[in-house]
Amino acid sequence: MVRLEKRPSPSKTWTYLTPIVAVVATMIAGGLMFAALGKDPVEAIRIIFWDPLFHEQFASFSRPQLLVKAAPLILIAIGLSLGFRAGIWNIGAEGQYIMGAIVGAGIGLAFYPLDSFLVFPLMVISGAIGGFLWAMIPGLLRVYFRTNEILVSLLLVYVAEFILASMSLGLLRNPEGAGFPGSRNLKSYPAGHNAELIAGTGMHWGVVAAFIAVIFAYILLARHMLGFQIKLAGQAPRAARFGGVNPDRLILFCLGISGALAGLAGLFEVSGPSGQISIDFNVGYGFTAIIVAFLGRLHPIGILLAGLLMALTYIGGELASLMLGIPAAAIQAFQGMLLFFLLAVDVLTNYRIRFGKAEVA
């Protein structure tokens, strides 16, 4: 008989091994799924994980995309990981991402066509504030009314989506757009455009912000008192309370920082790769970032790598749907599977597998 025996302390080896084992297991299970769809599994996996980087024809186009897609995922996941560590579950990053984009782009467009170097920094700040305020709704409700932050933050995603639709049809609609939904394109407004910093690399201000966020999160968790409190509150809530950690302050901090980072991600996306506020502006980065946060073991460096890997599956998925006709939804299922395997393999970090019958204690 197989049974689990709790380890005295989590295994270091397995902490590093689990993401790799999970990715390999997902490739195998994903391959089976592609085979069930009637596609060659080996070719499909190669197209998703290898071709975006090394295919002689597509790689030059898709390599820069890697940074473009990874930046929002990493930014959002870094914020979420702080909360997840403390047992504070913000799963509405998608909504904060939308609100950051709306507020940031709205402020930028309010100054149109003013040409000043101050416009873009102002947009960045207001994007962060937009996401921050949207995350403060579940935060304040949790602190003052003990309302479940999981449900409120998630329900607010739907509210944000309706606000997005209303904005692109109403307030922010391009006055010169012949009545089509969607705002002015920020690409044609240089003062508010988040352009590529080095041509052909995909490097824009959002990528820079993502790297800065990784470094700050690393310092916060490894060196700062607040980082210690976050870890303590997650692992031993009672001990944290006795140790003088203010749980309400921690809730507001974690939700606020993750909201601000998600808002930043939205702002960099709307002013850069996407260019405008439109009804279908959000593509689920806020939800995929949850997978990124777990795949990166809630560790800043891990999230950096996980974000790049997840971006790869996005690009590879597009490539696979182009070349093999694998539906885009299969990639979404693939990403969900990855999270399942990750969580399942994680049991080996905290438990040892023992064979044979348990002796009676």
Binding site: L4, E5, K6, F84, W89, I91, L141, F145, R146, T147, N148, I150, L151, V152, L154, L155, L156, V157, Y158, V159, F162, I163, A165, S166, L169, G170, F287, I290, I291, F294, P327, A329, A330, I331, Q332, A333, F334, Q335, G336, M337, L339, F340, L343, A344, D346, V347, N350, Y351, A358
Partner: protein, 311 residues
């Protein structure tokens, strides 16, 4: 604007239909949470049930077989969650989220060839004499069989949880799994069965959406219904009959805002459409605000905690 076009009788009749999918999902989740498990994958199980039921109903031409398939689809998906949380001891919040993300992807994958098809219809049961009663007739006695089935299910679950031995075991496992284990109850087995039941209910709710309520298959058609079902369980303080109240309240808001949209109220459509979500949040806040007898105190004591026999 013409508010007189809104008929209160039809409003209440539609409300019962609009509330049914959420009611099914919420009553299933209530049983799961009573057993001490927090499954946040309701949305994923609902949408998987929606496509399983839709596909089978279209292929066989039988809505009844469709509903059975919807329940089975939801239950199978929920078993992924069950195995992971009960045997692999994974975090329930994270696993539930994974279930929702996976379910959304899987359903859209399965549903590709079913977009834009009409499912076989489900006839309304027209109870001859009763449905002719002036106001109560159309409200109460002129629905499809699923509406009555759901109401019966709610009452049955209320009775089982309150008066039967099985209900007592489920509640014991949810309130204190260590004590239940010491008494010899199979905690993991009870929880797995509860999870499967919750999955089947969520699947049925999804099937009701795609086969009767809409009736059509579109990607992501549950649009947060699973999350609202989760909120309704909290709203109901984990009491079955209050789940009924919560679901009807939500159904009422949904139908009212749809009617107001049709009546051409001066509020933009988007703001009316978001009202059910906003009202759910407001109700959640009212129910969980700190005061005597607040809802969160009624939560099962072991809700969301993993059980490992040796610990």
């Amino acid at each position: 604007m013409d508010l007189s076009a809104i008929s209160p009788t039809l409003l209440i009749a539609f409300l019962m239909v609009a509330a049914t999918p959420i009611l099914l999902a919420a009553i299933g989740e209530l049983v799961v949470e009573k057993a001490g498990v927090l499954n946040l994958g309701v949305e994923g199980m609902m949408i998987t049930g929606a496509i399983c039921g839709f596909a089978v109903a279209v292929e066989t031409g039988s809505p009844v077989l469709g509903f059975i398939a919807a329940a089975i689809g939801g239950a199978i998906l929920s078993m992924i969650f069950g195995v992971l949380t009960q045997f692999f001891l994974t975090n329930q919040v994270a696993t539930g989220l994974a279930l929702t993300l996976f379910g959304l992807g899987l359903s859209s994958l399965l549903g590709q060839s079913y977009v834009g098809i009409k499912p076989p219809g489900t006839a309304k049961i027209d109870i001859p004499v009763l449905s002719d009663i002036l106001v109560a007739g159309p409200i109460l006695f002129n629905h499809d069989w699923m509406v009555y089935f759901t109401l019966a299910l709610v009452v049955a679950i209320w009775w089982v949880l309150k008066f039967s031995r099985m209900g007592l075991i489920i509640r014991a496992v949810g309130e204190n799994h260590d004590a239940a284990h010491a008494l010899g109850y199979k905690v993991v087995r009870v929880r797995l069965m509860a999870i499967a039941f919750g999955g089947a209910c969520a699947g049925l709710g999804g099937g009701y959406l795609s086969l009767i309520r809409v009736p059509q298959w579109t990607d992501g058609m549950t649009a947060g219904a699973g999350w609202i079902a989760l909120a309704i369980v909290v709203f109901a303080s984990w009491k079955p009959l209050r789940v009924l109240l919560g679901a009807y309240l939500f159904g009422g808001v949904t139908i009212l805002q749809l009617n107001l949209q049709a009546a051409g109220l001066a509020i933009p459509v988007e703001y009316l459409s978001m009202s059910p979500y906003v009202i759910t949040i407001v109700v959640l806040v009212i129910m969980s605000a700190p005061r005597k007898g607040r809802a969160s105190l009624a939560a099962p004591a072991c809700l969301g905690r993993a059980f490992h026999a040796s610990s």
